[in-house]
């Protein structure tokens, strides 16, 4: 993966249907200061690691249901 560039993000917003983002918000994604998104680049890198995991037939999580222990 290439490092994400602010210009790339800006072009994505221009060329796809998205909510508008200010310059400061895009800047926060490539050079984070606020702590909650502790590096958008790091997030993308980790998402790429998750993308290649073999998950087999595992479905998405839905509503939780009461469980029974095996002996019950």
């Amino acid at each position: 993966m290439h490092l994400i560039q602010k210009e790339t993000l800006s072009r994505v917003l221009q060329e796809l249907s998205c909510h508008p983002c200010g310059d400061a918000e895009l800047e926060e994604l490539v050079a984070p200061q606020m702590g909650i998104i502790s590096g958008f680049q790091d997030l993308l890198t980790e998402l790429e690691q998750l993308r290649v995991l073999q998950l087999g037939e595992l479905p998405p999580a839905g509503q939780v249901q009461p469980s029974k222990k095996p002996e019950e």
């Binding site: 702590g35 909650i36 502790s38 980790e46 509503q63 939780v64 009461p66």
Partner: protein, 459 residues
């Protein structure tokens, strides 16, 4: 009145029913406390004093909650009273009806006092709020109360409310409760209706309670744990009474001690108190079993990958018209949410299903897990990064490090005080139970509270 505002629901109810106290005097005592403290510490965003006193005057003492004043996080819709979400975006929003949980409490005669401050729309765990002010820690005003339900935790800790409602998406009830020295309960995902609560992330949002002790938490659980057919996320079960089993013998209960992650990089005093808790449970006859938890390597990213697109989706309408009214912090989160791909989101939800299956295998072997509540004491206000036992991380991540996993799995969890740290700030322990087994969770928590007591009120 000082002792009165720190009394639990059972004691207050007893005084009301024995005519030692009137509901109006009780409500007045709490409002006086709010009047004294709220100008310095913005715990309440709004109040409904006139209506509350009117209701107190005519309350019928038919239930343990009758005449008991409470407050709720300003994400709960309340008829005729503003629901702001802690944001300028909804500053003038007034709902036409109460959230279902507020309705249930009012039906039993509980009296709504007002709405508590929070991290804007629950997006964050520090409780920092630039618009309504940041709620500070009841034990030290230079420290954070934690969040996102900062005001609800502080309201109970400071004796401004007898109990409070919050929401918990990654620890937003349990973590501030831990930092403020009160009991924070997050029931099973789907156990309590979310109807009428402004959402942050549908997949992870839970209703939760702040109380002075575990007994009060059990009472509220029994009142609020009612199936709501109008909330599609609510699960129809036949739960057992949490109050009925509160004092049950815990001999033979199996307590799981995570061997990975949950005791790492933790403040040594908090760790020591947690080990005392484990020792106490063992003395009472519980069986201690080391357990291997699922890998936590990617859990924060998985959680965030679900949170950001869901928050973006809910706020989409507001963003079109009121984008500039959101905090810079939240706008950056929305920006990130736009660049998360659909496959990332679905994959994250599949990983959550994997976590659920792995944790269920753990709960096939144990009844309850025990961990520290938070790895750290309340961080200083204006802190961005926190260092705890060799690990440096954003303050919000530190505060919710041990809690957020259980929002993904949906298991019921509670934090309760284990006394004061040498800094004078509260410490806590977290218990987690099998899905829909709040009764066992509260039974163990009640026994543990017998060892540590409730936190002494702040000076």
């Amino acid at each position: 009145m000082t002792n009165l505002i720190y009394a639990d629901i059972a004691e207050l109810g007893s005084k009301l029913r024995n005519n030692e106290l009137s509901a109006v005097d009780l409500a007045q005592a709490y409002f006086q406390r709010i009047e004294e403290l709220n100008p310095q510490n913005p715990v309440f965003i709004s109040q409904c004093k006139e209506q509350a006193l009117h209701e107190a005057e005519y309350t019928q003492l038919t239930h343990p909650l009758s005449g008991i004043p409470f407050s709720c996080k300003d994400l709960y819709q309340t008829k005729g009273l503003k629901t702001t979400g802690g944001s300028r975006v909804m500053e003038d929003h007034v709902s036409e009806e109460d959230a279902y949980t507020v309705q249930l409490l009012k039906q039993q005669g509980a009296i709504l006092q007002g709405k508590n401050n929070l991290h804007e729309f629950a997006y964050g765990a520090t409780g920092v709020n630039a618009h309504f002010g940041t709620v500070t820690n009841p034990y030290n005003s230079s420290r954070l109360a934690g969040g996102s339900s900062s005001g609800s935790a502080a309201a109970v800790a400071l004796g401004m409310s007898a109990f409070a409602l919050g929401t918990d998406t990654g620890g937003s009830v349990r973590a501030p409760a831990a930092l403020c020295g009160v009991v924070g309960l997050k029931p099973t995902l789907g156990r309590i209706s979310l109807r009428g609560v402004v959402p942050y992330c549908w997949t992870l949002d839970h209703v939760g309670t702040f109380t002075r002790n575990v007994k009060d938490a059990a009472l509220l659980m029994d009142v609020l744990g009612v199936y709501d057919a109008q909330d599609s996320s609510c699960v129809n079960t036949s739960p057992s009474s949490c109050q009925a089993t509160l004092t049950d013998d815990i001999r033979g209960k199996k307590i799981g001690i995570p061997s990975n992650f949950f005791f790492d990089h933790c403040d040594p005093e908090i760790l020591a108190a947690t080990h005392q808790a484990i020792g106490f449970l063992e003395q009472q006859g519980a069986e201690i079993i080391p357990v291997e938890m699922p890998s936590m390597e990617h859990t924060r990213t998985v959680s965030l990958t679900v949170q950001l697109p869901e928050a973006l989706s809910y706020h989409s309408d507001f963003l079109a018209e009121k984008r500039e009214l959101y905090s810079d912090e939240f706008r950056s989160g929305f920006a990130a949410g736009q660049f998360i791909l659909a496959e990332h989101y679905v994959r994250a939800k599949r990983l959550i299903e994997g976590y659920r299956q792995q944790l269920q295998a753990v709960f096939n072997e144990v009844d309850v897990l025990i961990t520290p509540g938070c790895p750290t004491i309340a961080p200083p206000v204006d802190t961005t990064l926190v260092e705890t036992a060799g690990k440096t991380e954003p303050a919000g991540n530190a505060i919710t490090r041990y809690t957020s996993f259980f929002n993904m799995t949906g298991n019921p969890a509670i934090t309760l005080p284990t006394g004061l740290h040498s800094s004078g700030l509260p410490m806590s322990v977290q218990l987690v139970a099998n899905l829909f087994d709040e009764a066992t969770l509260l039974n163990l928590a009640y026994q543990l509270e017998g060892r540590f007591g409730t936190c002494q009120p702040p000076a």
